[in-house]
Symmetry: C2
Subunit: 202 residues, 2 copies
């Protein structure tokens, strides 16, 4: 929705900037701008400050590539975690989901993306050289590939699997199957097919 | 989703600030923060700057209460518009929708909200005194109430209608009826009832 009325420049610039957020179209951007300016000016100031401080103070952990203020992030420097297992995830959000399962006490490596040749994202863009250096620390015995079960996530897992196995590292992948609490009637056929193929003896 | 992993302070602050945007929950806020920091740092800088410049440079038009950089906005100072009709809307977004219908050449007044007693928004919060001063400029002959057709918008229209009519101003309301292009089968019964009640002879 292009504004048919003349719009002041700072408002136009704010709407344009909000549109760059993922999942925000022009209507939402407009609504956000009006809301901030009319009903939450302290929120707007806070957001402006938070953005500049995050840009200034955050960097990538030298070990796991996640966001941190320090050289090494709190998770990587936690001595209670098992340094022999490394779980590779696409994003910090995925890392949080795995952590909240309470089923993992090893370390992480965050790719900050996935292979997407069509978008020009290859092994160089994802800095696989840094990942290989991380894996070669002499402590990592097993790498768990926890990229998403999408076409791109699977491609990334496949590529990394070949790369790491050629260096003699044990590589595993998260199990595919029927989600916990599901009724089979409502699970998609592809998932059922995987669950059949990867069935376990009890 | 509370992050189960320790999170650096600037990242936490950024996610909290993004959550204040309307329609943004913690998951979207997290996704936005990761996106800005990892894939669009220029976008983050731009948004931070746009926010502070909008806060610094925008104010309310002395005539229509919309956002402007000047004392009087471009729409209110446009000599081609008819100063005898004033259309009252809730938000600048509503104003844009009316303008894009190309069916209106009068002026506007933007309430920047609607009466919502449960949220503590009454005539004082919406500065109805300013609106009355605006209407009393000696040029306005008719006021069109274009608040939303929601409970709160209707209440606001009803209240304003009594207030303005008691001052001898002609007040009208947008017509209710079947939307253009609709099939009756898919229009809700309330709308049909209104359309019947307000039927026009042809």
């Amino acid at each position: 929705m292009e504004a048919p009325l003349p719009e002041p420049e700072p408002l136009k610039a704010l709407i344009e900037s909000l549109r760059r957020l993922p999942g925000v179209g022009v209507r939402s951007a407009r609504r956000m701008a009006y809301h901030l300016l009319q009903h939450d000016q302290p929120g707007a100031e806070q957001l402006s400050r938070a953005l500049s401080s995050a840009l200034r103070d955050l960097r990538h952990c030298a070990r796991c590539n996640g966001f941190t203020e320090e050289e090494i992030c709190a998770t990587c420097s936690n001595p209670k975690r098992d340094p022999s297992i490394l779980c590779i995830v696409e994003t910090p959000a995925d890392q949080n989901m795995i952590e909240s399962s309470h089923g993992y006490r090893g370390l992480y490596y965050v790719l900050m993306g996935r292979l997407a040749p069509l978008e020009g994202i290859g092994p160089d863009e994802l800095r696989f050289d840094r990942l290989l250096k991380r894996v070669d620390d002499g402590l990592v015995k097993e790498v768990i590939l926890a990229t998403n079960f999408t076409a791109e996530g699977e491609t990334t897992a496949h590529y990394l699997s070949e790369l790491l196995q050629s260096r003699g590292i044990a590589v595993s992948r998260l199990a595919r199957g029927v989600p916990a609490g599901s009724e089979l009637e409502y699970v998609d056929a592809g998932t059922i097919a995987w669950a059949l193929m990867e069935r376990r003896s009890t």
